[in-house]
């Protein structure tokens, strides 16, 4: 099953450009699309957006006009890939439906990565973020139950991902300085750690871009408020994930790793995709990425006089898989829901001193009503009880069970904030 993109032949760059009708792909059918097929498309769109924006930023740090031209050529092909992937989403899928898809990505993508992360600290970084995105899914699903009641969140996620509270969004708002993690060093890091970080960072960044752009489309003030609040957490998550990357890696090292990562993901998703048409698209893009990688490696050899093969793995062994992570999520929830962070460390919220800046920030942004709480209160009052999808039994955290089943249990967060 091993795959080495350096040993494959891709499509020559001059043959990669497509015409408008080829880019304007036929969208999937939202009634029949596999939930994880939707997820894979959302991931690859985020990956291509990152490829384009990274290349633009690199060009802004490049004086050499020939190198700029080379970047521009590959970047145009990446920009076309982004269109072909993102145009798979049909026009009749509402913004909120797409949003549920984005949060399913954040949950099941991060869960796979956390379980395949060789470094213990980085694994903690992913599990920390995982519980926060998991909560967003629950908040948006309740918004859907309120404002698009003809649609069902469980149908969008296909029952593959549970929908219930994670680390409550209200408690996720931390001082920005406490989002900066310890960076890995490119020299010491396992190549899988670099691929994991690039992937999750790009996905969170796209989620941030999406919410900050479409969050003002609903007319309901509650919906607009919820998007604004969660968009801020996604920005926080981009800080969280980008800070684990090696900040001393050169532009060309980064370029090579970006292309290598794209090869890994298209290879992974091509293998799993049940929709033949989308599978063919992933195969086409993989063959394009193999050429982008070859070009980036050649640039590194010529410009930096370094052999990229020294830093790349001999082959890709394991594909990234979209699959159910229900048991794993329940375990992480039970063990880590009360964690917070201070500087680059994680600790139970009960360990924070009373004068920690966390409480100051909470006091500022949560003063005057919190949309992620209001959406649940409104769902309870209008629908009788809030929306949940618990396929595997009651919530693993007693304090986060439905109100009627709570038996007075609470969370450390709730206790701490009440104190």
């Amino acid at each position: 099953m091993a795959f080495n993109p350096l040993r494959e032949r891709g499509i020559p760059l001059e043959k990669q450009f497509r015409n408008w009708s080829e880019l304007n792909v036929k969208p999937y059918d939202k009634e029949t699309v596999h939930p994880y097929s939707r997820c894979r498309g959302i991931v690859m769109n985020g990956i291509e957006v990152e490829a384009v924006m990274f290349s633009h930023t690199m060009a802004r740090h490049t004086a050499d006009p020939k190198i700029k031209q080379q970047l521009a050529l590959v970047r145009r092909a990446e920009a076309q890939q982004q269109k072909a992937i993102n145009w798979l989403i049909p026009g009749d899928e509402s913004t909120l439906e797409v949003t549920i898809g984005y949060e399913q990505v954040a949950v099941d993508l991060t869960a796979w990565v956390a379980q395949h992360e060789p470094d213990a600290y980085l694994k903690q970084v992913y599990e920390f973020g995982l519980l926060e995105d998991f909560d967003h899914l629950y908040r948006y699903a309740n918004l859907m139950a309120l404002i698009e009641s003809d649609k069902k969140a469980e149908k969008i996620v296909g029952g593959l991902t549970e929908i219930m509270p994670g680390r409550p969004t209200i408690f996720e708002h931390r001082d920005p300085r406490d989002e900066i993690r310890r960076p890995m060093t490119a020299l010491a890091a396992d190549p899988q750690s670099i691929l994991n970080a690039l992937t999750v960072m790009a996905a969170e960044q796209q989620t941030m871009n999406f919410y900050m752009t479409i969050g003002n489309r609903p007319q309901e003030m509650l919906a607009r408020g919820l998007y604004a609040e969660i968009a801020e957490i996604e920005e926080q998550h981009v800080s969280h994930y980008e800070s684990i990357l090696d900040p001393t890696a050169s532009w060309l090292t980064n370029l090579v790793m970006h292309e290598y990562n794209e090869c890994w993901l298209y290879w992974s998703f091509m293998e799993q995709e049940p929709d033949k048409r989308v599978k063919a698209l992933y195969e086409l893009h993989l063959n394009m990425e193999i050429e982008h990688l070859r070009i980036a490696c050649e640039m590194m050899r010529q410009i930096e006089n370094r052999d990229p093969e020294e830093m790349l793995p001999k082959a890709l062994e394991e594909p990234l898989l979209f699959q159910e992570n229900k048991a794993y999520l329940r375990k992480v929830l039970a063990e880590q829901v009360d964690l917070t962070s201070s500087e680059s460390e994680f600790m139970p919220v009960s360990d924070l001193p009373a004068d920690h800046r966390y409480f100051d920030y909470q006091g500022v942004v949560n003063k005057g009503g919190v949309p992620s709480e209001q959406v649940i209160e409104q769902a309870r009052s209008e629908l009788g009880e809030e929306y949940r999808l618990q396929t595997e039994g009651g919530h693993p955290v007693p304090g986060l069970k439905r109100e009627k089943n709570r038996d007075g249990a609470s969370t450390e967060y709730a206790n701490r904030m009440a104190a």
Partner: protein, 227 residues
């Protein structure tokens, strides 16, 4: 024409003899720098252009703010090919000469002329300090470098005159215009002869490009007082 070339060769040969002691270490230095550059790049594994032997020596002798700034500014960028960097410089100054022709206001003319002089001085200095010694170490025929250095001499004397003049002075516009002609000629020769010869010589253009870029930032900072 044949006579002129012969005469030039003779002078060049003479200069080579008198300077051979200095020229040889320059060649050695280039080789050493290349080797040092490669090791540094390997060692840095992704930390941009490594600290070369030359910059390391400069650093040891006490890096000033401007030097440090130059080095840091360049290490954060994608490495640049030496001849492409210098070609960009040529294009930039050519566009400034074009702009000068369109100006009428005396203050604006003087500001632009001084800017041209500044850029040309920095450009000439980085070529003389870094490019030409490296070229002498790598090229069998040094005539191209000799010619370039002579051309720099005439441009510099014009620059010095322009810097002292006021735009109302007689011949101010003419001097700027002649400087433009000098530069155009110099650019044509370098880009059509010296640069292609250097690219073929096996000189590490990326390594040299990094040094040129760093020295340029440093000189600009010193000359403009913005260190």
């Amino acid at each position: 024409m044949a006579k002129r070339t012969q005469a030039k060769r003779k002078t060049a040969a003479k200069r080579r003899t008198t300077r051979s002691a200095a020229a040889r270490p320059a060649a050695k230095r280039t080789a050493a720098r290349k080797a040092a550059g490669k090791t540094a790049a390997r060692r840095a594994t992704g930390r941009g252009r490594g600290t070369t032997g030359r910059t390391a020596a400069r650093k040891r002798s006490g890096a000033s703010g401007a030097k440090l700034m130059g080095r840091l500014a360049v290490e954060q960028k994608v490495p640049v090919d030496a001849t492409r960097l210098l070609t960009q410089d040529h294009r930039e100054v050519a566009s400034l000469f074009d702009q000068f022709k369109m100006l009428e206001d005396a203050d604006e003319k003087q500001a632009l002329a001084l800017k041209i002089c500044l850029l040309l001085k920095v450009h000439a200095q980085i070529e003389e300090e870094l490019l030409y010694p490296a070229a002498r170490g790598m090229l069998d025929d040094e005539d191209l470098v000799d010619e370039a250095e002579v051309e720099h001499g005439s441009a510099k004397s014009l620059i010095a005159q322009i810097e002292k003049m006021a735009p109302e002075d007689e011949l101010y516009d003419a001097k700027v215009s002649v400087l433009g002609e000098y530069v155009r000629h110099h650019v044509r020769e370098e880009e059509s002869e010296l640069f292609p010869a250097l690219r073929e010589s096996g000189l590490d253009m990326m390594e040299l490009g990094g040094e040129l870029a760093a020295r340029r930032v440093e000189l600009l900072a010193r000359l403009t007082g913005k260190a």
